[in-house]
C-alpha cells in the first residue's frame, strides 16, 4: 500500500467530498471540501486505513482570501509507514471545525494550540483553553493581521505585554517604503498598511506570472 492507494480509498468512500490528490515532493495532500466531516474522515482513516498515529495538526491563515483558514492534519500509519496530509478550510465567520480528539487523544494539545494561536475553535473539544499564551490574552498571534512586534495587552495581576523593542532581529523588509522605519516589518500593522497590502498583491502577481493562473487562491484587493 502506498499513500496514493490510501487517497484513492478515501475518495471511494467519501466521493465528492475530496478534491483530486496533489503530489508534491512525494507527499500526498487531499483537500476535504466539507470541514464538518473531518471527524468522520479521520475515524475512517484510522480504523479502516490503519492511520493510527496523528503526527501533527497545523493551521494556515490565508489572509485576504475566503475561506480564510486552513487546518492541516498529518496522518501516519505505523503499520504501513505512509504519510497522508488532509487539509480542510474554514471561513472567518464560522471559524469552527469538529474536534478529532475522539479519534486520537494526541489531538487535544494540537487543537488547543491552534485555538490559542489562530483562533479556530474545535467543537466538542473536552478542554478548549489557551495553551501557550495565558488565559485572558485577547489576541491570536499567528494570524497574519497580528503585527510582528505584538500588540500591548494588559490583564491586571495576571500578565502584561508591550510591543517588542526595535533592536535586533534580522527580519526581511518590504521594498518601497520611504525610509527604514516604514520598511521594518515590526512597525507595520497589516490591516491598515498599504505598503504591506501592495507587497502582497505584487507577490501574488509574481507567483501567477511564474506559475500560471490556476495556482493558489484568488486575488486580494487593498483595503481602503
Amino acid at each position: 500500500m502506498n499513500p496514493v492507494d490510501h487517497a484513492r480509498k478515501l475518495r471511494e468512500r467519501f466521493g465528492e467530498l475530496f478534491s483530486e490528490p496533489i503530489e508534491f515532493r512525494g507527499e500526498i495532500s487531499l483537500q476535504l471540501i466539507d470541514s464538518e466531516r473531518i471527524a468522520d474522515v479521520c475515524t475512517f482513516a484510522k480504523q479502516d486505513l490503519g492511520f493510527n498515529y496523528l503526527v501533527d495538526i497545523s493551521s494556515l491563515d490565508n489572509y485576504g482570501d475566503d475561506p480564510r483558514f486552513t487546518v492541516v492534519y498529518h496522518l501516519y500509519g505505523l503499520g504501513h509507514h505512509c504519510y497522508l496530509r488532509i487539509k480542510t478550510s474554514v471561513s472567518e465567520e464560522k471559524c469552527e471545525v469538529p474536534t478529532v480528539t475522539g479519534v486520537w487523544r494526541t489531538a487535544n494539545w494540537h487543537e488547543r494550540e491552534i485555538y490559542d494561536m489562530m483562533g479556530i475553535r474545535f467543537r466538542g473539544h473536552p478542554d478548549l483553553r489557551r495553551i501557550l499564551m495565558w488565559e485572558g490574552y485577547p489576541y491570536f498571534p499567528l494570524r497574519k493581521d497580528f503585527p510582528l512586534a505584538g500588540k500591548s495587552s494588559n490583564v491586571p495581576e495576571v500578565a502584561f505585554t508591550e510591543p517588542a523593542p526595535m533592536a535586533g532581529g534580522p527580519f526581511t523588509t518590504i521594498a518601497g517604503g520611504k525610509d527604514a522605519v516604514a520598511r521594518e516589518p515590526r512597525v507595520r500593522i497589516p490591516e491598515t498598511d498599504s505598503l504591506e497590502l501592495n507587497a502582497r498583491v505584487e507577490r501574488r502577481q509574481d507567483i501567477k506570472d511564474a506559475h500560471g493562473e490556476n495556482f493558489g487562491p484568488g486575488p486580494i484587493e487593498p483595503k481602503k
Partner: protein, 431 residues
C-alpha cells in the same frame, strides 16, 4: 537625610478571608473539597525537577495524585511567527534554541526540511551527509547524557550527574572546534554546511567514542542493578503500547513502550541506510525501560559514529576535495574569493543574502528522529525566500500531553522520576 517609609505587605490571609466572605452559600458548597480532603499543589514553573519552566497543578489526595494539569508556554517566543518574517537561512539560529540540548540535530532537521522543499535533499554530497549524521549522533549522546544525569539526580543519585557531565564537556569541546560555538551551533546551511571538519577533529571524535563508552558502562553500574533506582523506576509511569501511539509519543518514550518506530529506519534520510545500527525497544513501558532504551541508544550512536569516522568520503583532512555543499550558487553562498572577483558569484551572493533562496510554492513535511523524538517541520511556501507558514512539530510538546493521563494514581514522589524519564525540553515545547 534619607527618607524612610514602611514597606507595604500584601495581607494575604486578610484577602483570602474577605474573598471567602464574599462567596454565596452555593459557591461555598462547590468549594468545600478544597478545604477538605483534596489539596492542590502547584509544582513549578521554577522547580528543579521540571527541567525548565514546566508548571503542573497537581490535585492530591494525601500523597496520591488525583488530577494533573500541566501548564506550558512560559518559554513561548513566537518562533513560528518570527519564521514568517525572515528568510529560510536566517531562521537556522532560531532552531538552536528549540531543543537547546541538541542544537546540532535541530540544525540538521531544519536544513533537511527546507532542502526537501527545494527538491535537493537527495542531492547532498556524501561528505556533507556523513558530517551531518555525526552531528546528529553527537547531539543524541549529549542530550541523553544530560537527560540521564538530571533524571538520576532527581531520583537521588547525584554521582551519575557528575559522570555524564564530564563526557558532555568533551562533546561541547568537539562542537566548539567544529562550529565555533559550544551551545548555539548554527552549523548547517541550506544545501550544505557552514564549514568543513577542522584538522584533527575526527581523531578527537574517535577518542571521545572510546571514552564515552567507558563512562556509559560506569553510569550503568551505578544504576541498572541499583536496588533504590529499580524501586524508584520499575513499574512507575507505565505507558502501554496503544496509549503511547494514541498520544503521539515519539523517540525513546515510544520505543520504551515497545513500539519499534525510528524515523532513521522507517523514513530514512541522509546516509542512515548505509549505516548499521539497532533500534532498542522496551517491553513494559515504565520509567526503567525508557532509561534502558536511552542507555542503549547512546551505545548505538557510538557505533554509528565509528562507522562514519571510518567511511567518511575524503577522510579526516579531505585531501580529495570532496564537496560539502550542493553545487548550486542559487542555494548555497559561493566561495568568498569568487564573490570578490567574479560577477555571477557576486550576484548570487547578493540575491541569496537579501532575498533568500527562491523556494517553489508548495508544502512539505519533514521529520527527523531527534534525541527527544520526532522533530518535524511543516513548511507552507507561496514561493520566494520566506515561508508563508512554518509549523514546528515539537516532540517535547506532544510527549508532555500525556501527563494528565499518566500522573493520576501515582505518588507525588514519583513525579520527578516520570518527568525525568520523559526527558523533555521546554525551549522546544513552548517554541
Amino acid at each position: 537625610m534619607a527618607e524612610t517609609r514602611d514597606i507595604e505587605f500584601r495581607d494575604t490571609a486578610g484577602r483570602a478571608a474577605a474573598a471567602a466572605e464574599a462567596l454565596s452559600p452555593q459557591e461555598t458548597e462547590e468549594l468545600r473539597d478544597i478545604a477538605g480532603e483534596k489539596m492542590v499543589l502547584n509544582m513549578g514553573p521554577s522547580h528543579p525537577s521540571t527541567h525548565g519552566v514546566l508548571r503542573i497543578v497537581l490535585e492530591l489526595d494525601g500523597e496520591t495524585i488525583t488530577k494533573a494539569m500541566p501548564d506550558v508556554g512560559y518559554l513561548h517566543r513566537g518562533d513560528e511567527k518570527i519564521a514568517e518574517n525572515m528568510t529560510y537561512t536566517q531562521f537556522i539560529p532560531y532552531t538552536d534554541r528549540l531543543d537547546y540540548l541538541a542544537p546540532l540535530a535541530n540544525n540538521v532537521a531544519y536544513a533537511l526540511a527546507v532542502e526537501k522543499l527545494l527538491g535537493i535533499d537527495r542531492q547532498l554530497p556524501p561528505r556533507c551527509q556523513y558530517i551531518r549524521v555525526m552531528c546528529c549522533e553527537l547531539a543524541r549522546i549529549s542530550s541523553h547524557l544530560l537527560g540521564l544525569g538530571s533524571y538520576a539526580m532527581d531520583v537521588g543519585a547525584m554521582t551519575v550527574f557528575l559522570h555524564t557531565f564530564t563526557e558532555r564537556e568533551k562533546i561541547y569541546n568537539l562542537c566548539e572546534s567544529l562550529t565555533g560555538a559550544r551551545f548555539t551551533t548554527t552549523y548547517t546551511r541550506i544545501g550544505g554546511l557552514s564549514r568543513d571538519l577542522p584538522p584533527g577533529w575526527l581523531d578527537q571524535c574517535r577518542k571521545f567514542c572510546d571514552e564515552v563508552l567507558i563512562n556509559i558502562d560506569e553510569s550503568e553500574t551505578l544504576l541498572t542493578r541499583n536496588r533504590i533506582w529499580m524501586d524508584r523506576t520499575q513499574n512507575i509511569g507505565v505507558i502501554p503500547k496503544d496509549v503511547a501511539i494514541d498520544y503521539g509519543l515519539t523517540g525513546p518514550n515510544l520505543r520504551g513502550s515497545g513500539v519499534e518506530y525510528d524515523l532513521r529506519k522507517a523514513q530514512p534520510y541522509l546516509c542512515y541506510p548505509e549505516l548499521e545500527f539497532d533500534v532498542p525497544v522496551g517491553s513494559v513501558g515504565d520509567c526503567y525501560d525508557r532509561y534502558l532504551v536511552r542507555m542503549e541508544e547512546m551505545r548505538q550512536s557510538v557505533r554509528i559514529l565509528r562507522q562514519c569516522i571510518a567511511r567518511i568520503p575524503g577522510g579526516a583532512d579531505n585531501r580529495t576535495k570532496e564537496p560539502i555543499n550542493v553545487p548550486d550558487g542559487k542555494i548555497v553562498l559561493p566561495p568568498k574569493d569568487k564573490v570578490l572577483t567574479r560577477m555571477e558569484e557576486l550576484i548570487h551572493h547578493f540575491i541569496n543574502v537579501t532575498q533568500g533562496v527562491n523556494a517553489p510554492p508548495g508544502e512539505v513535511y519533514f521529520a527527523a528522529d531527534n534525541p527527544k523524538g520526532e522533530l518535524g517541520f511543516y513548511i507552507n511556501s507561496k514561493g520566494g525566500g520566506t515561508p508563508h507558514r512554518l509549523k514546528i512539530r515539537a516532540p517535547s510538546f506532544v510527549n508532555l500531553s500525556i501527563l494528565p493521563h499518566l500522573l493520576p494514581g501515582h505518588m507525588i514522589s514519583d513525579v520527578p522520576a516520570i518527568l525525568g524519564s520523559l526527558d523533555f525540553v521546554m525551549g522546544e515545547c513552548d517554541r
